[in-house]
């Protein structure tokens, strides 16, 4: 069974990487996209991008850059999933899509472990604001108090809540004044509250208002935030981008040094506009295809059985990090980078290995940076 193809025809791996190197060397505006890979794959992808002057982007950039945007505009207060699990006496869940973003959320956050803990004597409140019309409240978690379940005005509600926490008057919202005041009182009474959100479901101004509410609550008590991670190791890749370039993803090396621009280096825009003339697409955790429609010469490194609108010029099946090969990746349960030992070791190549082959097949440019 083949694992590498050129224009849909099976080839040996070295032929595929050589062709990929040829395409990239000839490209004027390449983009390295998807980036669904482990830490080693991300390090190799950014090294490749630096070498060929490409832009780098992640398939979940839209969501996680919302959190990054709020952080670098106003700052924020955050904590770890572990502290939210063990210490929070008030859990404020915000908006829809939380369980979809983190399927283990009910098991990790809504059930307090039985061991003795500092705040165990304090009863815990779980409030879910504007949960949306998705699945009903997680079974077995009756203590979850749903507030404004199908509200359409979450940004206004958060603004009103923030105003009431600060003792300022507010206009009408979808919640009654009484319910709003009760919620504000609950938040103010928290000893160590944690607000939980998923940027996939919120816009940046809503996240900013929420972070402002959290900061305000710390005038008198302790409250903090937990932004849920996006899939495909997005937060791990964000960290690698940060230390290698100083910037998050959507960073380009076209001028020989890293430049960050959320619009300019959006991979989908680069391809759809016709600016990019070659794309590397990486999706090792699942066989995802890019969202763009415009045909572009593509080098695809994906989990097996990926299907594309347009046949990639070069396609290589890669192993799944933490399954086929050992990996390091962001862990939603700890909020840190952790080692993931292969659960089903195989001979499938890793993204890092394939990219190393491609880099070594590029025409020599003298001593590269490391």
């Amino acid at each position: 069974m083949s694992h590498a193809w050129i224009d849909g025809r099976p080839v040996a791996l070295h032929a595929a990487t050589a062709e990929a190197a040829r395409l990239l060397a000839a490209s004027r505006v390449p983009v390295v996209a998807g980036l669904g890979t482990d830490i080693a794959g991300a390090r190799a992808a950014i090294a490749l991008a630096e070498r060929i002057g490409a832009a780098v982007d992640h398939m979940s950039s839209d969501a996680i850059l919302r959190d990054v945007e709020v952080m670098r505009a106003t700052g924020m207060m955050v904590t770890t999933p572990n502290e939210a699990r063990l210490r929070a006496d008030v859990l404020l869940l915000i908006g829809a899509g939380l369980v979809e973003a983190w399927p283990e959320l009910p098991a990790r956050l809504l059930v307090r472990p039985p061991m003795a803990h500092i705040d165990e004597k304090v009863p815990r409140r779980i409030i879910w604001l504007c949960a949306g019309g998705g699945p009903t409240k997680p079974s077995g978690h009756d203590e979850v108090q749903m507030v404004g379940r199908n509200c359409k005005d979450l940004p206004a509600l958060l603004a009103a809540l923030r105003a009431r926490v600060a003792g300022r008057p507010v206009g009408k919202t979808s919640l009654s004044a009484k319910a709003l005041d009760a919620l504000a009182a609950d938040l103010r009474a928290a000893r160590f509250g944690v607000a939980v959100w998923s940027a996939a479901a919120l816009d940046p101004l809503t996240i900013e208002m929420l972070c402002g509410l959290v900061a305000d609550l710390n005038t008198t008590t302790r409250f903090t935030g937990l932004a849920l991670a996006a899939a495909d190791n997005a937060l791990g890749v964000l960290q690698v981008c940060g230390w290698m370039t100083g910037f998050p993803m959507r960073t380009g090396f076209g001028r020989g040094f890293p430049e960050h621009d959320m619009w300019r280096f959006d991979a989908e825009r680069l391809v759809e506009s016709g600016e990019a003339d070659c794309a590397v697409w990486i999706s090792a955790y699942r066989a995802a295809a890019p969202a763009w429609n415009r045909p572009v010469p593509m080098i695809a490194l994906t989990a097996s059985n990926a299907r594309f609108r347009q046949t990639p010029r070069v396609h290589i099946d890669v192993g799944r990090p933490g399954a086929d090969h050992d990996a390091v990746e962001h862990c939603a349960a700890t909020g840190t980078l952790v080692p993931a030992v292969a659960t089903n070791p195989s001979r499938a190549v890793s993204v890092a290995d394939v990219l190393a082959h491609i880099i070594s097949a590029l025409p020599s440019m003298g001593a590269g940076p490391c």
């Binding site: 952080m71 700052g75 955050v78 904590t79 061991m115 500092i118 160590f192 290698m244 080692p339 940076p369």
Partner: protein, 544 residues
């Protein structure tokens, strides 16, 4: 390959040398002058200064909090990028690659990242692995962690504490242990806003003093070369010299290192209730022979403060410039990122600048006061050359002092201090002494058998220019810098200690992680194979 560095002034205080000599290197080590063989290559160092590679014991160059600072402040990076060619020293260099290159061009070959939360150790080591050329090491942070505080609360034996500390060192691949505002971060989670040396952490019922003493003893008894590295309580507050004095007294004759003492050098004198207490602190340090300190010098300009002292950073958030900050409640310490602009026209900042220099100049023994800016908290490490020049030249200091608010200078003794550091003292402070403090027997000197980490400088009257761009730098015997430019990239190692522990602690930690977090303690490990570099670690022997 046999290499000869010929005819330079060799300053090697660890071996009592200061004079014209050749240095010979082979296979990454310094060797005796061979009787008969000819060198394969010779570098002429005539008229130049030849020293061991410098060692920075406290510089926040990697890890989760540092990376958050990068993401918080894209504008710092952008401004640096655009001006790099003309003003390379004006700002923090932001990525890992520049960090290694900038350090190497100044002649530094080993740098310690002093604040790694054990659960972020893998992250920190991955970042360190992307810092080229230099060797690195980490200090793991304990003292706000539930496990230690619970051990102390339950009156656990000293041997159990030692096992836990040794397990942490081994698991996180660290060179030493640091405690940061001992108990303060745990107290902050209970809404405590002010926390001093004899204050008690709620629930656990242990004082900050007890945490420091417990860890100091454990580190000492394990034979870890580097003494407990202490970030005291009350950082940055007027009158906090008392806290530092209490902590120095609490050393009680056992080794203890106090980090960035400048930030604790403040009295409450004067109209503004803010003055230098550096003279009193220096006197205390001079008298406490088991105590070492580093300075954390402030230099003027934009920077960002990155600290695992989450309580202090929370209280400093109103001073953020630009006005944004991140406060992170971690599993233990967490941290805070608060950008800050030190201004020479600001009374408080000017006092801080003076306090740092006073400490450098009033502490007698250059082997007990270490050269740091607490990068980037006092200033980016790229300002080191200017600070060397200030230490070596009282006229230059006078020029700077003349530009500061006189009311600030009047609250310090700096203007009256005549001392100038000699080159030999600078080399002691940045080479011989840090190697000894960290237990790196084959570094910081140029004796036979030492690692061939060598920095050669032109002997310029302009000391800042001299230290900014080394003429030659060798790392493990390989030429990596020539005339202030990196000529060869290579990958360094991270230095570690592993004093050994009773295996029972491993089972205890698995049980603890399982009970408390519902996870395996394996999430804490730093597998060598995960780092992605050949031989990423080098073990440093313990004393016993």
């Amino acid at each position: 390959m046999l290499t000869r560095v010929k005819g330079g002034r060799v300053i090697d205080p660890a071996n009592g040398r200061d004079g014209i000599a050749d240095i010979w290197l082979r296979d990454g080590r310094i060797v005796d002058a061979p009787a008969d063989s000819r060198p394969d290559e010779t570098y002429d160092a005539a008229g130049k200064i030849v020293t061991a590679g410098a060692i920075d014991i406290h510089s926040h160059i990697a890890g989760s909090n540092v990376n958050t600072a990068r993401l918080l402040l894209p504008e710092l990076h952008r401004s640096t990028e655009a001006r790099r060619a003309r003003a390379p020293l004006s700002n923090a260099e932001w990525g890992t690659f520049q960090t290694g290159c900038r350090y190497a061009t100044m002649g530094f070959t080993t740098v310690v990242e002093p604040a790694v939360a054990p659960n972020y150790a893998l992250h920190a080591h991955l970042e360190l692995a992307d810092i080229p050329i230099i060797d690195k090491a980490t200090l793991s942070v304990l003292g706000n962690d539930d496990y230690l505080l619970s051990l102390m609360r339950s009156g656990a034996s000293a041997s159990l504490v030692r096992d836990y500390v040794a397990w942490t060192l081994a698991t996180s691949r660290a060179l030493g242990i640091k405690v940061i505002n001992a108990g303060g971060a745990a107290a902050f989670k209970c809404n405590v806003r002010q926390f001093s040396f004899d204050d008690v952490v709620p629930f656990y019922g242990v004082s900050s003093r007890a945490i420091v003493k417990t860890l100091q003893r454990a580190v000492h008894e394990l034979g870890v070369p580097h003494p407990l590295h202490v970030h005291c309580n009350n950082l940055g507050l007027a009158g906090n010299a008392e806290t530092a004095l209490e902590t120095i007294a609490a050393a009680e004759g056992l080794p203890l290192h106090l980090a960035h003492l400048q930030f604790y050098g403040y009295g409450k004198e004067g109209e503004r209730g803010f003055s230098s207490a550096a003279a009193r602190l220096a006197e205390a340090v001079n008298g406490a022979k088991s105590v070492t300190v580093d300075v954390g010098q402030v230099m003027f300009g934009q920077t960002v403060t990155i600290s695992s002292d989450v309580l202090r950073q929370f209280n400093a958030r109103a001073q953020a410039s630009p006005k944004k900050w991140v406060i992170f409640d971690g599993d233990a310490n967490g941290g805070g990122i608060v950008p800050y602009n030190y201004r020479s026209t600001d009374f408080y900042n000017a006092v801080q600048w003076c306090v740092g220099l006073e400490l450098f100049l009033l502490i007698d023994d250059p082997a007990r006061v270490f050269f740091t800016t607490d990068h980037p908290n006092g200033a980016p490490f790229t300002t080191y050359p200017e600070i060397f020049a200030l230490l070596m030249d009282r006229d230059l200091r006078a020029q700077w002092i003349a530009t500061l608010p006189p009311a600030a200078v009047a609250m310090t003794t700096l203007a009256s201090i005549k001392r100038e550091y000699s080159l030999n003292e600078i080399v002691t402070m940045t080479r011989a002494a840090p190697a000894r403090l960290l237990g790196l027997r084959d570094r910081g000197h140029l004796g036979v058998g030492a690692v061939a980490d060598i920095a050669v400088y032109a002997n310029e009257a302009d000391r800042a220019k001299m230290f900014r761009a080394a003429s030659l730098v060798f790392k493990d015997g390989e030429l990596v810098v020539r005339d202030g430019e990196v000529t060869r990239y290579r990958w360094g190692r991270a230095l570690t200690v592993a004093p050994g522990h009773d295996r029972a602690i491993e089972r205890r930690m698995q049980d603890y992680y399982s009970d408390r977090y519902g996870l395996s303690a394996d999430v804490m490990t730093v597998p060598a194979t995960a780092i992605g570099r050949p031989e990423p670690f080098e073990a440093v022997p313990c004393a016993r």
